[in-house]
Symmetry: C2
Subunit: 268 residues, 2 copies
Amino acid sequence: MTENRKPLILITNDDGVQAKGINELMEGVRSLGEIVVIAPDGARSGMSSAISSLNPVRLHLLKKEEDLTIYSCSGTPVDCIKLGINEILERKPDLVLSGINHGSNSAICVIYSGTIGATLEGCILGIPSLGISLTDHSPDADFTQAVKYAKSVARKILENGLPKGVCLNLNVPDSPDVKGLKVCTQTMGYWEKEFQKVKDPTGRTVYWLTGQFANEDSDNEHNDEWALSHGYAALVPLQIDMTAHHLINDLNTVFCHCGLDPQSQENR
Amino acid sequence: MTENRKPLILITNDDGVQAKGINELMEGVRSLGEIVVIAPDGARSGMSSAISSLNPVRLHLLKKEEDLTIYSCSGTPVDCIKLGINEILERKPDLVLSGINHGSNSAICVIYSGTIGATLEGCILGIPSLGISLTDHSPDADFTQAVKYAKSVARKILENGLPKGVCLNLNVPDSPDVKGLKVCTQTMGYWEKEFQKVKDPTGRTVYWLTGQFANEDSDNEHNDEWALSHGYAALVPLQIDMTAHHLINDLNTVFCHCGLDPQSQENR
């Protein structure tokens, strides 16, 4: 972080700039530095790391006061981070915060979450980044505990940094008595029974996404679902290198040393 | 795979069901099994693992003939896979194929790619999955080599399966003389100079996503960018567990054993 300057903190979310979660977050961490918020102009849940590759993106300045600037953006959470770093901020931020999401982003949901998409983007661009979610979907959820944990983790990141290529995913249980913080692994599992098949007003079939989480890792006390269900805040380090390094040698044997090369194979 | 039955292959992409790449792929692998295509009704580039959480999704049957059924879908590539597995297919597919994408999905682009989003989704749902991309964006690209490699890798997956939690990302260089297949790591790097700032017809500023890839891993002969730039097809195993397992202990020290717990800390 630049000496003699307050830390610069870029904040976004996927629930939109009007959501209670991001507004409580920006107030909660205001004492930590200069805050710039660039957040979607409405809900972008489930946008993952989507980028606006087909349409241009618009920015709208909503507020500018000492150490707090707020923009809304027509794009995705990742667009918000890219615009902030590339176009808006005059220096590289010291921290990216994404959230506080209304609803958990634990387990396999890191893959689908716009909150985490923005967090990964901060990490890709070389900035220590933290995504924060509360396990309560309601618009008027109580963010008191989530803000407290977010601020503590954010302060620690500003003091210590994070290793290159790694960001943090913090989920806070919806409880007035959170028991503490656990560093966890991402719970493995999948969503099932995912659609409600209904008729639209013209009688045509449409599919609404819904579903329930099938936990394939439920006897593991080290993962985030276990921590959350036992009253702890869960902090998972996520990496942007998705390579399954442990399989490189095995796959070389299967795919490259036994005649796979199409040049040497009949085209059945 | 079920005995006495042809393998069932679910195919999607992110360029849309009309794209040349997916049509060449479905014809190319037709001899390998029963093919069901569920693909977006138009371009969904850069959609990552986005899901349609805010709007319902529609399906439209385009073609049904022996061993080839084609649907278009109003949703994202991941929606296509979820709908296929949850609602359309009568049995679990033996293989998910996503592509062939017009343009590469190498390096850090795995994070943004809808092609890879669908591939990861197949993997999350427990199905061996392969994403395929050609390093040529043009609508009339020559997919001859890409189809050949896709078919060979697909056949090998049907024979051998893939480890749980891992899928494959195949990028094929735009060349009539691909030198062979290399199992690679995901090249680390980021996109920079990402926006063109232009005026819309009403004179308002809009931002178009563009940019160039900054390779932070350019002296590594084991990554996919190296392989592609040297004329090889690149096969990267990707895992859906994003946990940075090697950092769990270090982070426990930083975040959990030195007074971070907000309960024991003044709220500065």
